[in-house]
């Protein structure tokens, strides 16, 4: 099924009416409203951001726009490079004169752009980048940085907290009494490592190996030899850039321990095909799977996305999609697209979208304007890649309320 029209057609075709009921025609806003979207164009994480904002904008335009104003989307490639991202942001805010910027994905790019947001006085709703430094800057200098909000995912401190929560709830059932922690040595993993330090052991699990791995590691054999010599039940990962290489070597070498954790490549919906099945029995944290999501709108969104773009979105898409609706609600509430008028309505946001229920931490918290973490707010789910038919599927097993499968240890470890 291929969606060809705007939101109404799409909603009719997919039974996807969640958005439409939330429509509030809040007076008239001078249009058009331009949304500038930033992300790495060559990467699926960037494509998910671009496509999801486009999808949301099409739906909104099909329903009359934001406060009567039509939405236009302009995308710019950051190439995951701070200086390219900075130039792209400047083009969007000065050349294109956009009303909102969204996306980004790369923490280093976000932190480079942050000072410009204060200058340009343009609302930014970020997706993908998980660094807690951005909201910490809002805390340090609110008036300057108040235009920044993070829609998702939860910041990397809470990603670490979630790893501990997951360990507490599931490790016993998974048969893990001893795990090795392996984090790639990039900035984004530092708060996660800090959150795991001590707290993971407090859950009753033994952690004899806790190492940060060089970001250009190619050969994991010596690392796995060391982990294996510690006789652990599993390796608990915090990996993105070197995730696939690490996973493939674990699978091909059939190491006698389980494998999983935060593993960005294993979040790709087509990761089974990309690794020709090497991802079998890997467990991973994510916002949603194409089949299971945190709210009843998640799966219809994934299907609508698949219909329009021929493939399912990655986690960055969920929050990028929600960010457009969150912005819409704020503009319609304020009756204005002026950035200063929007800060307060955005701070009061409580929006149940496709990535969960999005609320932002308050001005006096540790992470102002950051999406709140909690089991009834933004809360990652955990699944395991399992063989199914000729391919594989992600089977969700945590939290229990979303489970559609059970964890199974890799057969060669038995």
């Amino acid at each position: 099924m291929k969606a060809t029209g705007g939101g109404a057609v799409l909603a009719a075709m997919t039974g996807y009416a969640g958005r439409v009921t939330r429509q509030t025609q809040g007076g008239s806003v001078e249009g058009p409203i331009k949304i500038g979207v930033l992300g790495p164009a060559d990467s699926p994480v960037g494509q998910s951001i671009f496509n999801s904002v486009t999808l949301a904008a099409d739906e909104i335009n099909g329903e009359g726009g934001i406060g009567g104003a039509q939405v236009q989307v302009v995308t710019k490639d950051t190439k995951q490079d701070p200086s390219t991202g900075r130039a792209a942001y400047q083009e969007l805010t000065t050349g294109e004169n956009v009303d909102l910027t969204a996306g980004i994905f790369t923490s280093e790019v976000l932190l480079t752009i942050l000072p410009l947001m204060a200058q340009q006085q343009t609302i930014h709703l970020t997706s993908g980048a998980a660094t807690p430094e951005a909201p910490q800057q809002v805390a340090a200098s609110y008036d300057q940085f108040k235009y920044f909000f993070r829609v998702g995912p939860v910041n990397s401190h809470y990603l670490g907290v979630n790893m501990v929560d997951f360990a507490k709830a599931e490790f016993g059932d998974m048969g893990f009494s001893s795990v090795a922690v392996m984090a790639e040595d990039f900035k984004w993993t530092e708060p996660i490592s800090a959150a795991l330090q001590g707290d993971l052991e407090d859950t009753g699990v033994d952690v004899p190996y806790n190492e940060r791995i060089a970001g250009d590691t190619q050969d994991f054999t010596p690392i796995y030899d060391e982990i294996q010599s510690q006789d652990v039940d599993a390796v608990y990962t915090v990996l993105a850039h070197i995730g696939t290489s690490s996973l493939v070597q674990w699978a091909k070498q059939q190491r006698p321990f389980q494998y999983g954790g935060i593993h960005v490549p294993a979040q790709y919906p087509n990761f089974w095909e990309l690794t020709t099945g090497a991802t079998a029995y890997v467990f991973a944290q994510n916002t949603a799977t194409p089949q299971v999501g945190p709210t009843d709108q998640s799966v219809p969104y994934a299907n609508a996305y698949n219909d329009q773009f021929g493939g399912y979105p990655i986690y960055t898409g969920y929050s990028a999609y929600d960010s457009v609706y969150i912005y819409k609600n704020a503009v319609e509430q304020a009756g204005s697209k002026n950035a200063d008028d929007l800060v307060e309505p955005l701070e009061g946001t409580s929006y149940t979208g496709v990535s969960g229920t999005v609320e932002f931490y308050g001005r006096d918290s540790d992470y102002p304007h950051d999406v709140k973490y909690g089991s009834d707010l933004a809360f990652p789910l955990w699944y395991q890649w399992q063989p199914a038919g000729d391919g594989g599927t992600p089977a969700v097993f945590y939290p229990d309320s979303l489970a559609d499968g059970q964890y199974e240890p890799a057969p060669w470890t038995q």
Binding site: D42, A214, D219, T221, S245, T276
Partner: protein
């Protein structure tokens, strides 16, 4: 604590692969006197050729291996004939041209296939136990094939007329010309061999890690350390250099810190350039 047998096995297996990459790099420098910064591109092309042949076309992994040998060889040949041969008297121009070529090749794969790493099938499955340590047969095969190729190259260079002509050209272009050796043909042959060796190394590397557009970068950097350590232009030095750098790499990761992987070879590069710029072996014979 990891035992020494593990470290020794990892060292032997990894270094054979490093040697395979470094030899082609040093061969081109030794014979042509130019640095081929597109050497890593051959690795990338080899890895992706095998990936595309085995997944998109459903070919067997051995056909993939043949492709990983032939396609980068032809690419290297075309690079030499089409670009480098026109400017080979100007080593700086060659460096710039080959660097640009390397970046273009990366970008072609970024745009064409994407940045997501792809899994390449192993040549062999299963594992064997050596001195109480389990070793994947694929890695063992990579080790054996690397040495077969290195051995074949040595035999070719030292035993055949054409090989001796390569060696003669590397010793003295003038002398080689006087005895009637067509240096243009020799350079072409060298680029072809270097491309093939790097291409098959690309498949080997991708078969135990994964294929991604930047897979050629670290081996190229390692090659610098290896050939500088062994003596630029010396094939024997490159093999020994590969084993020394491999040892440093494995010992660093196993015994010092997993955060320092890849760093020590670069330190070695700087130290050798300052303390002993001719490397351990220097050029076997120079003009």
């Amino acid at each position: 604590m990891v035992n020494l047998v593990n470290i020794a096995v990892n060292w032997l297996l990894l270094s054979a692969l490093y040697a395979l990459v470094a030899i082609g790099f040093t061969l081109i420098f030794g014979v042509g006197g130019v640095l081929n910064l597109a050497h890593g591109a051959n690795i990338t092309i080899g890895a992706y050729t095998a990936y595309l042949l085995t997944t998109s076309l459903g070919a067997s992994v051995w056909v993939g291996a043949l492709g990983a040998l032939v396609v980068p060889g032809l690419f290297s040949l075309a690079l030499y004939q089409g670009l480098v041969s026109k400017v080979e008297e100007h080593p700086i121009t060659v460096m710039i041209l080959t660097l640009v070529t390397a970046l273009v090749v990366e970008q072609v794969f970024v745009v064409g296939v994407g940045t997501t790493p792809r899994t390449v099938s192993s040549l062999l499955r299963g594992s064997v136990t050596i001195a109480g340590t389990s070793v994947r047969t694929n890695r063992l095969l990579v080790f054996v094939l690397s040495w077969v190729l290195i051995g074949a190259l040595f035999a070719y260079i030292t035993r055949t007329r054409q090989g001796k002509a390569i060696l003669a050209t590397s010793m003295s272009e003038k002398g080689a010309a006087i005895v009637g050796i067509d240096d243009g043909r020799i350079f072409t042959l060298t680029w072809l061999i270097a491309g093939m060796l790097a291409g098959i190394a690309g498949l080997f590397l991708a078969s135990f890690t994964s294929a991604q557009p930047f897979i050629g970068r670290s081996p190229l950097l390692l090659s610098f350390s290896i050939v500088v350590l062994g003596g630029i232009g010396s094939i024997r030095g490159s093999v020994i250099g590969a084993y020394l750098v491999g040892l440093l790499d494995v010992v660093t990761v196993s015994m010092i810190s997993t955060r320092l992987s890849g760093l020590l070879p670069l330190v070695v590069l700087v130290v050798v350039l300052i303390v002993r710029p001719e490397g351990l072996f220097g050029r076997e014979l120079v003009e």
